[in-house]
Structures are given as C-alpha cells and as structure tokens.
Subunit: 351 residues, 4 copies
C-alpha cells in the first residue's frame, strides 16, 4: 500500500487554516509536512495546531523540499500565478485557490507552465464537491430532469468581507460570483457565451466607495441554449444562502440550504426552525474534505483532476465579462473579454 | 341591507365559465343575471349550468339591460377595448380580463372612456388575491424583510395552449409573462424601468413557427433600484409552477407551490409527495373568488378598485418592452415602448 | 336529468350553520328547503342567510314535509337517536352528526329503525373526506406502503370548548377522540380490539372539575395485529393540529397539517411560516362539501353510504372502552364495553 | 497546555471501530494508544488502520498499562460489568457502551465499584449529543414550548441485526428501545414510572423463533405527569428513521430525519428527495465525536459526565419493565422491575 501523500501548505490565512484542519482531521490519505506563510508566526501557529513538523516564511523554501509531493496554494491572489509557475518548475502537483489571477493572460501563462511541467493542477472550486450540488449535477447528467432549459443560482453571504479585502479582491464578480460561474458551467455542462450583469450598492456604502458592488443579478446565455440567472448579495440577514434550481424538459431539481439541525418548532407565533448554517466553513466542511481527497486520488492514481486549470480560466473569463457588463451597462459576450492569446481555449475545452 | 350586485357575463369560454361558477357557488354578494357569448349555445349552456335567467349572443344587448349594474368582460382579447368603451358609455362598472388590448394606444383609449364615464374598472390579475402572494406582499409592505433588493419569479404552465390560441394571444410575453409583470409591480411596489428578455423554443416547434417562444428568462430593473428575474416556461413536466422570492435587507420571503394534499410518502425509493396543483383553476380558485368579491365591494362601498386600469396599462407596457428586447436582442427601457400619447402615465401612477 | 336533492336541516348551531353554508355555496347537487331549530330565531337567521324558503322551531314539522327527501341532523347529541327514528319512520334519508348517542344500546335502537325503514344513514365523520386522509388511506389500500404495522394519530384542538359543552359532551373520549377512533378504523381497515387510555388535566382545571380530561394518549391494538397510538389535547398553542402516520412493511405515509399559505420567511431570527389553519371550519371546509356530495350521490344513485351507522356504532364502542380504560387505569377490550344486545355487530361488520 | 488524553479501546467490533475512527480523525483532544480485542487480528487491523501503537488480545493487559488514562469499553455486553469493575480498580476513567449489563443487580455492582474507585463513568447514549435532539431538549428546558405534556418517539432501523446477535442482545426492548428510554428521560427530564409495551413479529419470523419481537409500540407514564409513546421497528423500508416530538403548553418541537443532501426533484411522477441517511454511522457521526469530546472534557476539567452510570441503570430498569409488560400483556410499573438492592436509586437520582 502506498503511503499517505506528503503535502506542503502555502498561506496560513483563513482558507489555509481550513485546509490544514481538514487534512489533519479528516483526510486519511494525505499529511501536511510543512506550512509556509510570509507571516512566520502564522505559519508556526498553524503548524503547532495541526502537528505539522515544519513552518517557514518563504514559500520557495517549501518548494525546494524534495519530500513534498504536492502543494496547496492558499496565499493572496496576486501570488497564485508566480507560485503555480514555481511549483510547476519544481515538479510539484498543485492545488490552488481561486482565482489563479485577476486577468486571463496571467492565468494563461500559469496554465502553460503547468502543462509544460506535466504536473497536476486542481482549482479550489469546492462547491463541486458539496453533496447537494453533486446530486443536482447527477440529475442533469443522468437525464432525470431531461434536457436543461433554465438555471437559477442564489449565492448570498452572511456578511461582507473587510473593506481592505474588497479592495484587492477584484470585486464581487471576480471574487464571489466566480464560484457561481463555475457552478453554472458545472451544473449545465456547457460554456457561458453571454452575460448581462446588474450591480448596485445596498449593503455598505464603503463597498461602493471602493469601486465595487454588494448586490448583483446576472443573466447568462449558455452555448447549449440554456438561460441562467444568478442572485448575489454580500449580506443575507438569515445567514449563508446557497441554492440552485435547474429546470428541464422532464422536471426540475432544487438545491436547498443546509441547516444546523432538522428540528422544527411550533408556538403561538409561528412554525419555525433555526437559521441555515452560517458560513462556508460549516456549510462546505465536507466539500473541503472531498476536494482534497479528490486531488490526492488524482495524483496517486494518475488520473485527471476533477476541477482543472481550464475551469479556473473559464470562470474568470465569465467574471471579467460580467464586470464589464456592469461597468458598461450592456450585455457582454464572454469572447469579448478574452485576449487573443487565450481565445483558442474557448472552444478547445480543458487544457 | 343592500341586495346582491347584479352582474352580466360577456364571454362564456374557459375563464368566463370559471367566473360564472365562482359567482354562482362562492360569491354571496353578487349574482349573474345574464350571459352573452357570440356562440349562443355556449351562452345558454353556461346559463343553464349556473341558473342564470338570461342567455344571448349579443353583448351589446346585455349592455342595454338596465337591471345589470356591472359586467365581467371575458371574451377574446380583441373585443376587450370596444366592450370596455361600450360598457362605460352604458354606465356599467367593468371587470375585464387581461390584457385590455395588445397595444398601449388602444388601451389608453379604453381607459379614457372609463375615466370619462366615471365607472369602475378592475383588471383580472387574479394572483394579487392569492393567499401566498398576498402574504409575500405583506412581508414587503410591513418591513418584515426590510428594504427589497432582489425579486425572483417562477411561472411555468403544465402545458402550452393550443397553437391557434398562441397565434392570436400576442405571444408569451403579452399573454403569459404579463401576469408576472403585474406580480413584479405588485410585490415590489415600484415601476419597472428596463427589461432584458431572452426567449427560445424548447417545448414545441410549432410555437416557434407561429413566431413565438415557449421558454424565457427576463431581467428587470425597477425604479426603486430593485433587480428582478423571471423564469417562464409553457410546460413544466410536474405541473403548474408558480413561485416567488423577494430578498431584502432584513430577510427574504419565498412563495412555494400549492399541493392537492399535505401527505408525504417514504418508500424504498424516495421520500415523495404528489405533484403540485395542476392548473390555474385549482391553484387560483380562491383568488378568483376574492377578486370578484373585491370588485363587488369596490362598487357597493364606492372605493377604489384593487387592480386598476393603469395596472393593466403598466403591465402591458413592460410586456411590449420585453417582446421588443427579445426581438432585438438587447435590454429595452420600458419608456421606449410607450407612445407619446400615454407616456405621462409612466410617472403619474394610477389613472 | 334529475333535479337537485331537497334537504331539510335540523339544528342551526355551529355545525348546522357550516352545513347550511356548504350546501348553499358549494354543493350544486342539493338545496336546503327548510331549517328547524328549537331556537326559532336561529332557524330564521340561518334560513335568511342562505335563502332557505322555510324556517321553523319544530323538527317534527320538518319531517312531515313530503317535499323533503333527506334530513341533516345537527341538533344536540341527546336528540340524535329519537330524530333518526322519527326520520326513518317518515321515510327520509338521514345524515347525522356524530355521535348517534352516548350509549351503544340507544345507538343500536336507532340503527335498527333505519334498517327497518330502508332509508340511508350517513354519519358525519367528515375527516374521511379530507384530501390528506384520503391520500393516506389510498397508500394503505393500494399496497404503496405494504402491510400496515403501526399507526400514529395526532389530534389537538386550538382551544377547549365552553365548559357547559364539556359537561354534556360525554367527555374527551366520546366527543373528541371519537373522530380519531373512526380515523383509525378507516385508515387501517380493521377493527380495534383493545384500548389503553391515559388521561389527565393540563389545560384547564375546570375541565377536571367537570369530571373530564383535556390531555390524553391512547394505545390501540387492532384485530389485524396493527398497533396504534393517539395524541389528544384540547389546546395546541399553534392552532389546529391534525396529523397521522402509518408505517408499513414497504414504507410509511405521513399526513401533515394544512396552512393558510405556502409562504416561508427567513429573517435574522428564524426560518418560519404562518401557523396552520386554525380550526376545523378552515381545515375541513372541503371535507364538509365532499361528505354532503357523497351523501347526495348515495341517495341519487342508490348506492351504499361511505360512512355507515355501523361506523358510528363502532367508533362509539372504542370511545366507551377508552373512557373505561382511563377510569379504571387498565387496558380494556372493546368487547367488554359492548352490551349483549349489540355484540353481534362486532364481527358482523356493517349493519 | 495539557497534552491529549491517552485512551485505550477494548473491543474492535463495529462500534469499537466507529470510535477508533472518530478518535483518530475527529477528536483532537484524545488519542488512542492501545486496542484490545479477543480476536487479536481484529485488534491489529484496527490499530493499523488508525495508527494506534499497540494491539493485544487481552483487555486486562491493556488495563495494566499505566500510560492509559481512560478506556472505551466496546466489547460484548456480557463483558461490560466485569471490565468496568476491573478498570475502576485500575483507576481508569471509563466510557462504556450501553447496556452495562442485562440485569439491574449486575449493573448496580459495577456502578458501586466505579463509585468506590472515584473514577468517571460515561455511558454511550450517543443520541444525547445529536444536534437535533439537543435542540429539542433545549426547547423543553428553556420553556420555549412551555410545560411538556406529550412525548412521541419514532425509532426504526433500516434492517434487523443478524439473528445470532438478536439471541444474545437481550431482545428489542433491552437492545434497541433502551436508546429511546434514555431519550425519553433526557428530553422530558423526569423518570418513567409505568410502561405498557405491545410487541409482535412483522419483519422476520426467525426473530420470533428466537423469542424476541421486531415491532413494538410502548406507552409511557412519567413521574411529572407527561405521557409518552414510542414506535419501534427493526426494518423501515426507507432507511434509518429517528424522530421525536414533544408537545407542551406553549407549543411543540419536532425532530425530523437527516438526509444525505437537501436536494428536491420534481418530475412528472412526484416531488421527491433521496432517502434519509441510511444507518446510525451516518446519522450519528457527529454525536459520536461529541460524546467522546464530552467524556475527555469531563476528565480533563474534572466535571460530572453528561451521561452517568445512573442513566444507564435507569434506562435498563425501564427496558426490563417494558419486556415484562410485553410478556405479561399488562402495564408494568418500573418499580416492579427493580430489585430491592437498587430500588433506592429510583428516587435518589444520579449515583
């Protein structure tokens, strides 16, 4: 029997810590052997908490460790592309949080480096591993609901991120809706060709002052003729709201929210239940486990990853088109947002 | 105590028969005293079934009857505007099925005739009287969900109408979505300013050959900043699908479907329930009762009707803009669809 | 075509008024031609409200009217048996509210009079006509859930009746649980052989002072081996609670409550909906219509009634056994509660 | 910071393996240092799988290890009492699966040994740590539903255990219903005084031949006046069915099932969802984690355990009374089932 996969973690911030805990407690096929973070203390704290032998501040030192077979890139977005290229050169398999970069050219460069190195790259679109969305995808794929006609996605956060984060995030379309664009492609199994995004500021004026929106509705047209709509908000009073519906020729499938319990109360005022799970770390805890297990499996069994670099590229292309649509107040073809250097990927599918 | 209101019914087709049955069996404040239909036999059959004393083929003969205080116009769409004008001249109060006409000028002429005559006119947007939508409106009006931000409407029929009907109906946007445009205005309490409609043929090629669509998704922008989306299909495999969701600053309200029973089964295959109520006559039976009761009450108590001629005009204006948006493949401002002669109604509100 | 059935109503109290309104507004196959109530003014008011031609204070005068084909007996329980006998002698078909009497001998006398006269007698166990319970029965009858093993009934009122009513009602087991005993027999399709009832006073001490209970749990053993439990309370804070579950070899069926709308709200506090329909007149409005339609149909088509006098007798037998079980603090066989004169009905089935 | 608690596992059968996996993957406050099983190979396999340093066949060898602070007793029921006594003598804290023994005297002996040794003993009633039941208990404790009046528990397995297990298990009441008796005491917060159990064979004749039942309904009377009912079956066609309802003076709380996803499908046949989680290892995975975390916490912080030996004793006393009730066909007071030597525990509460 092959031993467990030896992983290095780059970035010990919020999502890095989620992955570290997941690997330590839930993933039996891999183990963390090093943590790197530019904040040396954060790296050490994360290593201590999860019994990881080494902590360091330089990610390139981690990439030099020949005992590490694969890396989890969880650092800030601007470091993703350079780290992917360096990791690829070092012959490490790569799991990278979305987005790879905020522009398509930088993304393309990183993907080409991965391709040349022949390593595996999986993007952290964890919702693809959520039991609800997996079930919905199966309903489409199996023909249970017939040919898909209409998609509706709801994706609302319980609270906006810190304004400092908003400023460097690329904005709602590139930071938040990008998950929905990936989900749209995954559920429908077709590329998005045109997008029309309406955006506004309803939650926090500071978000508007930072040049971003906090509330958006997006209209999608897919290559296979499906129409889609997306509802986004940075703040739902009742918590994390993550739903989907696909309507098809033979039926419909609806993804509802997850709750902390299945207990219903009836009093003189109402019939009620507790609020949905409040944030992504509760709602998606099992999807984080499964995405890492899938990554490890793809490496160990040398099979294709389930979420490729092309998936990262394609979701970003839609996000950039959506942002432009909002900025210019008109529907935008995704092809308009794609530079010539990468436009062949629009029809070629997975790199 | 005032006696019951004496009503005349014009048009004994499908919806006319629904109203006749409703008045006969459920509305205690009104009684039908005459039925007119160009098909004399249909008028007679309807009269016989509901014990209505008189049947005739000429609606103008009905309008001449001094014993009739108000009329229900349920004949084909092309007759609505002339009959409204004639009824107004005859001093009858008027309940008219939607739409008043397929163009805004004809609609405006009819409304002006009503205004001059000083009679009441209520439009048959029955969903405003459905207990579910009433509850959702109350959630918005009362502030229970805070300021509204996003609206989503689902409106799918169990089966498309006969192709002959499709040809004269004005098409999906003017015939079917018009209910949703009214619902959008009602639930949000603001006018729609811009609409972007995608339409396609997925259900029946004959509908496309008739120049219409059977599947549509529509993006709405309201004057108060709310964004909305509408899902329409002429055929849902599981029956009549009529839902809504309004997301606001302090919460959300969701209208779900009605079912023939609240019985759930669990077997070795699934946990399941019977399909939703299969057509508008089951789902909306109580709303038909309440809209007629409201019409009678407005007459008897001399108060404003709950669904005015302006509501009919405004929903039609959105529908025409939606149809143009679909035809021209671009977002269309509702004001673009409004002729100069009626454009002052866009800001003036209820005529 | 046969004309509508001419009905007389005896008793214009709460349930009598429900039936009068139902016949006037919803039942197209029958018409009320006379109302009798010992309170002459009540009879007149009911007649006026529903346009019934005659009102009187003497029910026997009503029974003398040769134009009346069938009567609805809705007067106080102590008058049921004598009125059934008189109506039978007068050759009228009979619809009688439950219970026929508070003892089995009196019930038997009345049933024998009906049998001799050859008229039809239907008992007012309206829940058998509720769409939810009908669906559950169908799940048992069709084999959809296999052989039934376990039954659970929940039946809770929103508020206790007036204490004066409690005193003459026969108590919770004969007045309220009797509906559940009928439902138990109907859903399982087998006779109850043994009952063990626990009763107590939790809602209102005055009920205890009147010698009755307001809270009860009842264990049932059926002839076909099924076990059952019943939850009863005179006051559920959240309204009218009427549910059932049947567990069988191939699955289970659950009857849930009916609600005034299917609208769900989510705020910062909870995900909630409005309370269930608050009383039997809302929850069971359609079952009242259907039970009268079924009665009329049985007469017009000369077929067996759907709820027979034997069903009334059998539910009463269980109720008397339950009351004795509570009084004596032990399980009681239903056969113990049956006088010799009627004991042959326990095995003979429908009289 | 205190280091993690060093645990030894006795018994590497089904539940022992569940606990080993839970400790290895989910419990960060404890670690397994040894596994003992009379089947040496099973102990070794379990140790290998979860990286436990030592495996052995003699549990007494494990108890001799001074490095072990606490033990998990997961061996067959007949070994529980002797192992508890030995572990207590060895000064180890004890987590023991239910039941401690199949009779109350042996249970009492074991509890007295624990008391004398001053070690902690927690019983494996894991449902007390399930988020649904915890929420229901909170609804009672907080007064959210007022004073409790009626309890209903549903507890059905997806399939009966092997017939060899049935024979040594003590039967349905001592093996399966015992969980419900504990749940009843936990949810209502009062002792059960009387029980009336009906039992029968509907699932598998071999169970009847082994002298046991597979289907049961149990009536409970609590010291505080609450009435309760329990539904049990060894086979629900649709999977693991674990629900509860408590009705109180101000409302009701209902525990529903957990599902593998919150995805609903609608097709031409039905509105449906996948079956509930199919067995205790899925449904209760988090409760297993929390019960061990609670056990570790009670040791580390030297506080009372949340499920005491007295809780094990009390649930067993109800189970023995239920079994006698079924055998003798009459209600049985729990006090009848209690030997003189332990009867003082009925009023004294927790030992």
């Amino acid at each position: 029997m092959r031993d467990v996969l030896r992983l290095g973690l780059i970035g010990a911030g919020r999502i890095g810590q989620v992955h570290a805990a997941t690997i330590a407690q839930r993933v039996t096929t891999a183990t963390l052997v090093a943590v790197a973070d530019v904040n040396r203390a954060a790296a050490q704290a994360c290593a201590d908490q999860h019994r990881v032998p080494r902590a360091m501040d330089d990610p390139y030192e981690l990439l030099d460790d020949p005992g590490i077979e694969a890396v989890m890139i969880c650092s800030s977005t601007d470091t993703h592309a350079p780290l992917i290229k360096a990791a690829a050169r070092a012959g490490k398999h790569i799991f990278c949080e979305k987005p790879i970069a905020l522009d398509l050219d930088a993304t393309a460069h990183a993907l080409r480096a991965v391709e040349r190195a022949g390593v595996k790259l999986q993007i952290g679109f964890n919702r693809r591993f959520d039991a609800n969305f997996v079930r919905a995808r199966r309903a489409v794929e199996s023909g249970e609901i017939g040919e898909p006609h209409i998609l509706h996605l709801v994706s609302r956060d319980p609270a906006p991120p810190p304004i400092e984060y908003v400023k460097v995030s690329g904005g709602l379309f590139l930071d938040m809706s990008i998950h929905d664009f990936d989900m749209a492609r995954y559920l429908i199994g077709s590329e998005v060709e045109e997008v029309h995004a309406l955006g506004t500021v309803r939650v926090d004026l500071a978000i508007g002052e930072a040049g971003d929106v906090d509330t958006a509705v997006i209209l999608l047209r897919f290559a296979n003729g499906v129409f889609g709509t997306i509802d986004n908000s940075r703040r739902a009073a009742y918590g994390y709201d993550q739903r989907a519906e696909i309507f098809g020729s033979r039926g419909a499938v609806s993804v509802l929210n997850n709750y902390p319990n299945n207990t219903v109360l009836s009093t003189g005022h109402a019939v009620y239940r507790d609020l949905p799970l409040n944030f992504f770390m509760q709602r998606y805890v099992e999807s984080y486990q499964r995405e890492i297990e899938a990554f490890v499996r793809a490496i160990v069994e040398d099979t294709a990853v389930e979420v490729s670099g092309h998936d990262g590229w394609a979701a970003l292309a839609i996000a950039i088109a959506a942002k432009r649509s909002w900025q210019e107040g008109r529907p935008v073809k995704v092809s308009e947002a794609v530079p010539v250097s990468t436009s062949h990927w629009m029809s070629e599918g997975q790199p």
